[in-house]
């Protein structure tokens, strides 16, 4: 199963000065991790219906996405993007609302967990079918360009598994044809659910796909926050400057189950010795400590602050009303007078 692990590379020493957003990014990562730990524990306690999907190990990549964006940009996140969603401005309480399914959340109990967004605020709401959001994002960018908006970009994330869908192919290709300011951040976390890389694709390196689409392609070590911020940040800048679409391929290991129902016992022990298996959050924290970027008390404060924010989010959401079948508006279209009524007989 390990045959597709990349040949071990020496970890490139981070020589560059610390990225200006390094600490801010760390705090978002911490927040996401704290939130998702709470979520997972609620799931185990039977307090969340449906699935819980966390981004453990993927926070550095994800936060670098969210933090590199600005107002006016469009973000199409996927399964493991809590850190990036938060950094791009999604209130934590909306996540809690969506998992609990309150009427007050952006999905109003109609959809749940990771299937959420606020398209009017540049946060597209993913559907499950992997790859489908790439072309949607392309269309948003075309429209913004068409009405003369300037300086915006779009960023979407995808897993190495999702890259094998036809939809992602069509989306990437059409992005290049339309030359939209797009960044695609693909994270190879070495598994699609239980399926290891060798049953997902057979190329040496997914970044080689970039060239075949007319994208510019870059690789990065997704356990290294500095690299994530640097390389994703630069890709965003290049897209903003009008260069062709950008593909960034990050390598990490998914450090949790596919969802919280999954014990990921199919992941062989040895893989945890690989460099890509390192926990980005721990690595970042260690770097902060080693380089004394902040003092221990501040770090402790951040941790407490994250915990407080998480508790608050759930406390608010839990008090809010749940949807009710009787009061629900069962109409799938906005043009209400055109609603079809197949069972008017009642």
């Amino acid at each position: 199963m390990l045959q597709t692990a990349r040949p071990k590379k020496e970890k490139a020493p981070t020589e560059a000065p610390v990225h200006e957003k390094y600490l801010e990014a760390f705090r978002w990562m911490l927040l996401a991790r704290t939130f998702e730990e709470k979520l997972a524990s609620m799931y185990r306690g039977g307090r969340i219906t449906g699935g819980v999907y966390v981004g453990k190990g993927q926070e550095a990549v994800s936060v670098a996405c969210g933090i590199s964006l600005q107002k006016g940009d469009v973000f199409a996140p996927l399964i493991r993007d809590q850190a990036g969603r938060s950094a791009f401005g999604e209130p934590l309480v909306d996540v809690a609302r969506t998992y609990i399914g309150t009427r007050t959340g952006p999905m109003r109990g109609r959809d749940g967990n990771i299937h959420r967004g606020k398209p009017r605020e540049g946060q597209l709401a993913m559907i499950s079918h992997l790859g489908a959001m790439v072309s949607v994002l392309v269309g948003s960018l075309m429209a913004k360009r068409g009405r003369g908006e300037k300086n915006f970009i779009g960023l979407t994330t995808i897993g190495e598994g999702g890259m094998q869908t036809g939809a992602s192919h069509e989306g990437l290709n059409i992005a290049a044809v339309e030359h939209v300011p797009l960044v695609v951040v693909a994270t190879n976390n070495h598994y699609a659910y239980s399926t290891p890389n060798d049953r997902e694709f057979a190329c040496d390196n997914l970044v080689d796909r970039a060239r075949g689409y007319g994208f510019e392609g870059y690789e990065l070590d997704g356990t290294d926050l500095a690299q994530c911020l640097d390389i994703i940040g630069k890709a965003v800048k290049r897209a903003r400057a009008g260069r062709p679409p950008q593909l960034v391929v990050a390598s990490i290991l998914r450090l949790a189950g596919h969802g919280e129902h999954d014990d990921f016992s199919y992941v062989p022990k040895e893989i945890y010795g690989e460099p890509f298996a390192c926990d980005c959050l721990q690595r970042t924290e260690q770097f902060i400590k080693e380089h004394e970027l902040v003092d221990p008390a501040t770090l402790k404060g951040w941790r407490e602050d994250a915990a407080r924010q998480v508790d608050e989010a759930f406390a608010i959401a839990q008090k809010e009303p749940l949807p009710s079948g009787e009061e629900e508006d069962w109409c799938a279209i906005s043009t209400r007078n055109l609603a079809d009524n197949a069972e008017a007989a009642d």
Partner: protein
Amino acid sequence: MSVTYLEAIREAQAKLLRDDKRVFIYGQDVGGTFGGAFKATKGLAKEFPGRVLNTPISEDAMVGTAIGAALEGMRPIVEMQFADFSSIALNQILNNAGTHYWRTNISVPITIRLPSGGTKGSGPFHSQSMESLYAHYPGLIVMTPATVEDAYTMLIDAVAIDDPVIYCEHKYLYYHLKADDLPSEGMPIGQARIARAGRDLTIVSYSAMLQESLIAAEEIAKEGLEIEVVDLRTVKPLDTGTVLASVARTGRLLVVGESFPWGGATAEVIARVTTEGFHLLDAAPARINAKDTPIPYHPNLWSTHRPNSKVIAAKARKLLRE
């Protein structure tokens, strides 16, 4: 002057592009000097530069792109080269466009044009009528215009509607159907039309089968029996009220469609009439569909596969005797 069904579709798009800067057309071969496999966008790329765009052969991405543009305020019209190829975009249509309003409270005003239905020699992959697939799933409006006038006004309406519209235009009608000129206004969307008044039997139909039904009705009129023909216009929403009112007058129901027999529009009409208007019926309802095989290439086979005025008249006569 006379205008065909196909010209009406072109004219509607020209008007839409002229009147509404949010509109653009996206599809294979719609642009350049070519103007589409059926010329439904002929000349429009030149008249409206940058707004009639050729796409790669990527139906999924074409619809995805349209959805994204619609979310940002545009009103895209996607042309499928043939309805049959929309199978590739089905996921985006059903699961992305169709669910978006209900999930997020934000509607997706896209119009997807499906050149539909059988024509001579077109075979299994260039002849399909897919309205029943799209109507089955929630969140979509499915139009099936049967006249030149409706082809025109309904396409304009489709783009104005805030929700995703599947606009099934029938290729057989493209050249076969002509009108004197184009109306400035049509009937409201969602209302069926009494295409022919009668008292002895109601035929409910839509798209090309409406025309066959009308021919059958004229045929039978010579025999002294008057068939009322209802044109559904949209199969979703389906105007049960108009259908029931007609059956109340005639007591007899025949439903005719060109798509495959299992489920679909004809079954739906019969289910509605019998559940909601059972006592209006003096005889068993009946339906006619295409056969339950792929659509054949050779005209000898195709003419049997596809319902036509003769078959409709025969079935109508039988029903009228019951």
